[in-house]
Amino acid sequence: MIQNNFRQGLQDGVPIALGYCSVSFAFGIMCVNQGIPVWIAALISLTNLTSAGQFAGLGIMAAGGSLLEMALSQFIINLRYFLMSLTMTQKVDPEMNTPERAIVAYGITDEIFALSSSKYNGVGFAYMMGLIALPVLGWTLGTILGGAASSILPMAIRDALGIMIYGMFCAIIIPPARKERSILVVVLIAAITSCIFQLLPIEIGSGFVIILCTLLAAGLGAFLFPIKQEETR
């Protein structure tokens, strides 16, 4: 049975949209703090629709990194969407045509993917449009609000909001790390190598550090703890 109700999609998207709004608020603030105009920040959110990639991209923009560094870091950080998109090929309505698939692809984020791939056996185009609509709105609007609020918020509050995105990252990685030792080891390898790079006296772009740490940690993880077939997330 394929779920293809637009309104059901909108409804499922509400909690995701609220969550996105508060995280992208922090992104908007960080952009303005780094000297990026609000409307560029909104454009980034609207066209990228991804948290980790955007925060890393912002770091590279602020540091004046190379376009290669930008492209490679986005590639590595967002490589997970490849796997999600691949999983979605098994979940979307087989009748879905190519333009519809191209539009649905834009909305594949961790949360939207998790919801659409776990709640129903199959999803149609109308449902996916409903599900994607509010999170996109929340993500973009939150960015604009954060960027606009940045200039009027006191410094102490701006600083305090800076930790939000990382708090959210902790909430994403720690519960599965608690459940599976292999994930814990991968997270620890990534975190420790990332800290070591920070302490090294040589200058490496932040995007490259993330790429190197990810290749090392995920590679070692795959080597040490290969997952059983079919056990994708």
Partner: protein
């Protein structure tokens, strides 16, 4: 400004291509176990590398940030929701910076 646009175009282009290529082109399953495992661990590795050590200075000063980090880790360990963890860490950083 042109430079900013170029950055945004590269970011958005790469991100979109990753999302759309499998959905448009691929209809089979990945069978290589190493690739499957690697992709499975990628999100955790990325987030681990992005969070540490950045979180230690994400709240401005070191001490408030460390207290916020501790809060985030404890609440995340208790499986609280993303929003709860994010807001609580932020409140702790704010309060700590007021009193320290």
């Amino acid at each position: 400004m042109t430079r900013l646009f170029t950055y945004v175009a590269v970011m958005a282009g790469v991100t979109y291509l990753i999302r759309c290529i499998p959905l448009l082109a691929y209809r089979k399953k990945i069978t290589n176990q190493f690739v499957q495992s690697f992709l499975y661990y990628v999100p955790y590795a990325v987030l681990g590398a992005m969070t540490f050590p950045a979180i230690f200075t994400s709240g401005g000063e070191l001490i408030p940030s460390l207290l916020g980090t501790g809060t985030a880790i404890i609440l995340a360990y208790q499986k609280r929701s993303l929003i709860t963890v994010a807001i609580a860490a932020s409140v702790v950083v704010y309060l700590a910076s007021l009193f320290l």
